[in-house]
Symmetry: C2
Subunit: 145 residues, 2 copies
Protein backbone atom coordinates (compact mmCIF):
# COMPACT_ATOMS: atom_id res chain seq x y z
CA UNK A 1 0.00 0.00 0.00
CA UNK A 2 1.41 3.40 -0.93
CA UNK A 3 1.49 6.33 1.48
CA UNK A 4 -1.72 8.36 1.51
CA UNK A 5 -1.75 11.36 -0.81
CA UNK A 6 -2.09 14.92 0.43
CA UNK A 7 -5.39 16.75 0.04
CA UNK A 8 -3.89 18.93 -2.70
CA UNK A 9 -2.65 15.87 -4.60
CA UNK A 10 -6.02 14.18 -4.34
CA UNK A 11 -7.78 17.24 -5.67
CA UNK A 12 -5.35 17.44 -8.61
CA UNK A 13 -5.82 13.73 -9.36
CA UNK A 14 -9.59 14.12 -9.11
CA UNK A 15 -9.73 17.07 -11.49
CA UNK A 16 -7.45 15.21 -13.93
CA UNK A 17 -9.81 12.24 -13.85
CA UNK A 18 -12.87 14.45 -14.33
CA UNK A 19 -11.21 16.06 -17.35
CA UNK A 20 -10.01 12.83 -18.98
CA UNK A 21 -12.21 9.90 -17.93
CA UNK A 22 -14.88 8.76 -20.38
CA UNK A 23 -17.55 7.00 -18.31
CA UNK A 24 -18.88 7.21 -14.76
CA UNK A 25 -21.23 5.09 -12.63
CA UNK A 26 -24.45 7.05 -12.08
CA UNK A 27 -26.55 5.94 -9.09
CA UNK A 28 -30.08 7.31 -8.89
CA UNK A 29 -33.29 6.40 -7.11
CA UNK A 30 -36.97 6.59 -7.87
CA UNK A 31 -39.59 8.15 -5.60
CA UNK A 32 -40.41 4.74 -4.12
CA UNK A 33 -36.80 4.32 -2.96
CA UNK A 34 -35.44 1.80 -5.47
CA UNK A 35 -31.79 2.24 -6.36
CA UNK A 36 -30.58 2.21 -9.94
CA UNK A 37 -27.11 2.24 -11.48
CA UNK A 38 -25.72 2.63 -14.97
CA UNK A 39 -22.40 3.62 -16.54
CA UNK A 40 -22.81 6.72 -18.69
CA UNK A 41 -20.41 8.82 -20.72
CA UNK A 42 -19.85 12.19 -19.09
CA UNK A 43 -18.31 15.60 -19.67
CA UNK A 44 -16.97 17.72 -16.81
CA UNK A 45 -17.73 21.35 -17.70
CA UNK A 46 -16.20 22.85 -14.58
CA UNK A 47 -19.54 23.13 -12.81
CA UNK A 48 -20.72 19.54 -12.94
CA UNK A 49 -20.89 16.27 -14.85
CA UNK A 50 -22.91 16.43 -18.05
CA UNK A 51 -24.65 13.20 -19.03
CA UNK A 52 -27.22 12.38 -21.70
CA UNK A 53 -29.81 9.65 -21.46
CA UNK A 54 -33.26 9.00 -22.95
CA UNK A 55 -35.89 10.96 -21.02
CA UNK A 56 -38.03 7.85 -20.71
CA UNK A 57 -35.22 5.60 -19.38
CA UNK A 58 -35.06 4.75 -15.67
CA UNK A 59 -32.01 6.98 -15.18
CA UNK A 60 -33.64 9.77 -17.21
CA UNK A 61 -36.81 9.68 -15.15
CA UNK A 62 -34.84 9.51 -11.89
CA UNK A 63 -32.59 12.44 -12.84
CA UNK A 64 -35.69 14.47 -13.78
CA UNK A 65 -36.97 14.08 -10.22
CA UNK A 66 -34.15 16.33 -8.99
CA UNK A 67 -33.34 14.00 -6.09
CA UNK A 68 -29.92 13.15 -4.71
CA UNK A 69 -27.55 11.49 -7.15
CA UNK A 70 -24.26 9.73 -6.47
CA UNK A 71 -21.53 9.27 -9.05
CA UNK A 72 -18.56 6.92 -8.96
CA UNK A 73 -15.59 7.81 -11.15
CA UNK A 74 -12.39 5.82 -11.53
CA UNK A 75 -11.62 2.28 -10.53
CA UNK A 76 -12.66 0.25 -7.55
CA UNK A 77 -9.30 0.84 -5.84
CA UNK A 78 -8.91 4.44 -7.02
CA UNK A 79 -12.31 5.90 -6.36
CA UNK A 80 -13.83 9.34 -6.71
CA UNK A 81 -17.31 9.61 -5.20
CA UNK A 82 -19.48 12.60 -6.03
CA UNK A 83 -22.75 13.50 -4.31
CA UNK A 84 -24.97 16.08 -5.90
CA UNK A 85 -28.21 16.93 -7.58
CA UNK A 86 -29.18 16.83 -11.25
CA UNK A 87 -30.57 19.71 -13.23
CA UNK A 88 -31.60 19.91 -16.89
CA UNK A 89 -28.73 21.17 -19.08
CA UNK A 90 -29.79 23.19 -22.14
CA UNK A 91 -26.54 24.96 -23.16
CA UNK A 92 -25.96 24.02 -26.81
CA UNK A 93 -22.24 24.84 -26.59
CA UNK A 94 -21.81 22.36 -23.75
CA UNK A 95 -23.75 19.80 -25.80
CA UNK A 96 -21.27 20.44 -28.64
CA UNK A 97 -18.38 19.81 -26.24
CA UNK A 98 -20.00 16.60 -25.06
CA UNK A 99 -20.46 15.41 -28.65
CA UNK A 100 -16.85 16.29 -29.51
CA UNK A 101 -15.42 14.47 -26.50
CA UNK A 102 -17.39 11.29 -27.12
CA UNK A 103 -17.62 11.46 -30.93
CA UNK A 104 -21.28 10.80 -30.31
CA UNK A 105 -24.07 13.37 -30.40
CA UNK A 106 -27.19 12.33 -28.48
CA UNK A 107 -29.10 15.08 -30.32
CA UNK A 108 -28.75 13.02 -33.51
CA UNK A 109 -30.08 9.83 -31.96
CA UNK A 110 -33.62 8.66 -32.51
CA UNK A 111 -35.47 8.84 -29.22
CA UNK A 112 -35.79 11.72 -26.84
CA UNK A 113 -32.36 12.19 -25.23
CA UNK A 114 -32.13 14.66 -22.36
CA UNK A 115 -28.96 16.31 -21.03
CA UNK A 116 -28.44 16.77 -17.31
CA UNK A 117 -25.77 18.47 -15.25
CA UNK A 118 -25.00 16.71 -11.96
CA UNK A 119 -23.74 19.48 -9.69
CA UNK A 120 -21.53 18.16 -6.87
CA UNK A 121 -21.84 19.38 -3.32
CA UNK A 122 -19.55 16.69 -1.89
CA UNK A 123 -16.49 15.06 -3.47
CA UNK A 124 -14.46 12.26 -1.91
CA UNK A 125 -11.42 10.40 -3.22
CA UNK A 126 -9.49 7.44 -1.88
CA UNK A 127 -7.45 4.46 -3.03
CA UNK A 128 -6.94 2.09 -0.13
CA UNK A 129 -8.12 2.04 3.45
CA UNK A 130 -5.21 4.26 4.57
CA UNK A 131 -6.72 7.06 2.50
CA UNK A 132 -10.15 6.94 4.13
CA UNK A 133 -9.11 9.65 6.60
CA UNK A 134 -9.13 12.91 4.69
CA UNK A 135 -11.18 11.50 1.80
CA UNK A 136 -13.59 14.45 1.70
CA UNK A 137 -12.29 17.06 -0.76
CA UNK A 138 -15.46 19.15 -1.20
CA UNK A 139 -18.15 19.84 1.37
CA UNK A 140 -21.32 21.89 0.82
CA UNK A 141 -20.03 22.76 -2.64
CA UNK A 142 -16.71 24.16 -1.41
CA UNK A 143 -13.31 22.60 -2.13
CA UNK A 144 -11.48 22.07 1.16
CA UNK A 145 -8.04 21.89 -0.47
CA UNK B 1 -14.79 -3.28 -31.40
CA UNK B 2 -14.78 -7.06 -31.08
CA UNK B 3 -17.66 -9.24 -32.24
CA UNK B 4 -20.41 -9.63 -29.63
CA UNK B 5 -20.07 -12.70 -27.41
CA UNK B 6 -22.65 -15.47 -27.37
CA UNK B 7 -25.06 -15.73 -24.44
CA UNK B 8 -23.21 -18.81 -23.18
CA UNK B 9 -19.86 -17.01 -23.32
CA UNK B 10 -21.28 -14.00 -21.48
CA UNK B 11 -22.68 -16.22 -18.76
CA UNK B 12 -19.31 -18.00 -18.38
CA UNK B 13 -17.47 -14.65 -18.24
CA UNK B 14 -19.98 -13.32 -15.71
CA UNK B 15 -19.66 -16.33 -13.40
CA UNK B 16 -15.86 -16.10 -13.66
CA UNK B 17 -16.00 -12.46 -12.63
CA UNK B 18 -18.36 -13.19 -9.76
CA UNK B 19 -15.98 -15.90 -8.52
CA UNK B 20 -12.78 -13.87 -8.85
CA UNK B 21 -13.53 -10.13 -8.60
CA UNK B 22 -12.87 -8.43 -5.26
CA UNK B 23 -15.09 -5.34 -5.17
CA UNK B 24 -18.41 -4.29 -6.65
CA UNK B 25 -20.35 -1.00 -6.89
CA UNK B 26 -23.43 -1.25 -4.66
CA UNK B 27 -26.24 1.20 -5.47
CA UNK B 28 -29.01 1.54 -2.88
CA UNK B 29 -31.69 4.06 -2.05
CA UNK B 30 -33.36 5.33 1.10
CA UNK B 31 -37.11 5.51 1.64
CA UNK B 32 -37.14 9.15 0.53
CA UNK B 33 -35.71 8.20 -2.86
CA UNK B 34 -32.10 9.36 -2.55
CA UNK B 35 -29.58 7.23 -4.41
CA UNK B 36 -26.38 6.06 -2.77
CA UNK B 37 -23.32 4.26 -4.13
CA UNK B 38 -20.25 2.64 -2.61
CA UNK B 39 -17.68 0.06 -3.66
CA UNK B 40 -17.74 -2.91 -1.29
CA UNK B 41 -15.83 -6.18 -1.16
CA UNK B 42 -18.09 -9.09 -2.01
CA UNK B 43 -18.24 -12.88 -2.05
CA UNK B 44 -20.39 -14.79 -4.54
CA UNK B 45 -21.75 -17.82 -2.71
CA UNK B 46 -23.69 -19.23 -5.64
CA UNK B 47 -26.98 -17.71 -4.48
CA UNK B 48 -26.01 -14.06 -4.25
CA UNK B 49 -23.39 -11.43 -3.45
CA UNK B 50 -22.37 -11.31 0.20
CA UNK B 51 -21.32 -7.90 1.47
CA UNK B 52 -20.57 -6.59 4.96
CA UNK B 53 -21.05 -3.01 6.07
CA UNK B 54 -21.71 -1.24 9.38
CA UNK B 55 -25.41 -1.47 10.26
CA UNK B 56 -25.52 2.25 10.93
CA UNK B 57 -23.88 3.29 7.63
CA UNK B 58 -26.01 4.67 4.79
CA UNK B 59 -25.57 1.49 2.75
CA UNK B 60 -26.27 -0.67 5.84
CA UNK B 61 -29.49 1.18 6.58
CA UNK B 62 -30.57 1.09 2.92
CA UNK B 63 -29.87 -2.65 2.57
CA UNK B 64 -31.86 -3.28 5.77
CA UNK B 65 -34.92 -1.73 4.12
CA UNK B 66 -35.13 -4.69 1.75
CA UNK B 67 -35.68 -2.45 -1.28
CA UNK B 68 -34.31 -2.90 -4.77
CA UNK B 69 -30.53 -2.92 -5.05
CA UNK B 70 -28.38 -2.65 -8.15
CA UNK B 71 -24.81 -3.90 -8.36
CA UNK B 72 -22.16 -3.08 -10.94
CA UNK B 73 -19.30 -5.55 -11.34
CA UNK B 74 -16.34 -5.24 -13.68
CA UNK B 75 -15.08 -2.26 -15.58
CA UNK B 76 -16.89 0.54 -17.31
CA UNK B 77 -16.41 -1.10 -20.72
CA UNK B 78 -16.91 -4.67 -19.48
CA UNK B 79 -19.94 -4.38 -17.29
CA UNK B 80 -22.04 -6.82 -15.33
CA UNK B 81 -25.22 -5.27 -13.90
CA UNK B 82 -27.15 -7.15 -11.24
CA UNK B 83 -30.62 -6.22 -9.98
CA UNK B 84 -31.88 -7.85 -6.84
CA UNK B 85 -32.93 -7.52 -3.26
CA UNK B 86 -30.90 -7.69 -0.05
CA UNK B 87 -31.56 -10.02 2.83
CA UNK B 88 -29.68 -10.43 6.13
CA UNK B 89 -27.04 -13.19 5.88
CA UNK B 90 -26.37 -15.08 9.12
CA UNK B 91 -24.57 -18.25 7.91
CA UNK B 92 -21.27 -18.37 9.85
CA UNK B 93 -19.63 -20.65 7.26
CA UNK B 94 -20.32 -18.12 4.51
CA UNK B 95 -18.89 -15.40 6.79
CA UNK B 96 -15.76 -17.57 7.15
CA UNK B 97 -15.51 -17.81 3.35
CA UNK B 98 -15.90 -14.04 3.05
CA UNK B 99 -13.14 -13.47 5.61
CA UNK B 100 -10.84 -15.96 3.87
CA UNK B 101 -11.36 -14.40 0.44
CA UNK B 102 -10.68 -10.86 1.62
CA UNK B 103 -8.23 -11.62 4.46
CA UNK B 104 -10.50 -9.34 6.45
CA UNK B 105 -13.12 -10.45 8.95
CA UNK B 106 -15.81 -7.82 9.60
CA UNK B 107 -16.79 -9.77 12.74
CA UNK B 108 -13.47 -8.71 14.30
CA UNK B 109 -13.97 -5.03 13.54
CA UNK B 110 -15.10 -2.57 16.15
CA UNK B 111 -18.55 -1.34 15.23
CA UNK B 112 -21.63 -3.28 14.35
CA UNK B 113 -20.98 -4.87 10.94
CA UNK B 114 -23.91 -6.60 9.27
CA UNK B 115 -23.71 -9.16 6.46
CA UNK B 116 -26.21 -9.11 3.61
CA UNK B 117 -26.85 -11.36 0.64
CA UNK B 118 -27.95 -9.53 -2.50
CA UNK B 119 -29.98 -12.09 -4.43
CA UNK B 120 -30.13 -11.36 -8.17
CA UNK B 121 -33.30 -11.61 -10.19
CA UNK B 122 -31.83 -9.96 -13.28
CA UNK B 123 -28.28 -10.13 -14.63
CA UNK B 124 -27.00 -8.23 -17.66
CA UNK B 125 -23.55 -8.14 -19.23
CA UNK B 126 -22.10 -6.12 -22.07
CA UNK B 127 -18.86 -4.57 -23.27
CA UNK B 128 -19.58 -2.16 -26.08
CA UNK B 129 -22.75 -0.93 -27.74
CA UNK B 130 -22.80 -3.92 -30.13
CA UNK B 131 -23.41 -6.14 -27.09
CA UNK B 132 -26.47 -4.24 -25.87
CA UNK B 133 -28.75 -6.65 -27.77
CA UNK B 134 -28.82 -9.87 -25.81
CA UNK B 135 -27.38 -8.30 -22.67
CA UNK B 136 -29.96 -9.88 -20.35
CA UNK B 137 -28.60 -13.20 -19.05
CA UNK B 138 -31.02 -13.75 -16.13
CA UNK B 139 -34.66 -12.73 -15.91
CA UNK B 140 -36.97 -13.28 -12.91
CA UNK B 141 -34.17 -15.25 -11.26
CA UNK B 142 -33.74 -17.70 -14.16
CA UNK B 143 -30.61 -17.90 -16.33
CA UNK B 144 -31.63 -17.60 -19.99
CA UNK B 145 -28.45 -19.26 -21.28
Amino acid sequence: MEAPRSAQQRKRDTLTRLASDVDAWIATADAAGSGYLLPLSFLWDGAGLIVATPSSSVTGRNLSRGGRVRVGVGELRDVTMIDGTAEPMRDERVKDEFAAKHRWDPRKEPGDYAFFRIVPDRVQAWREVNELPGRTLMRDGNWLA
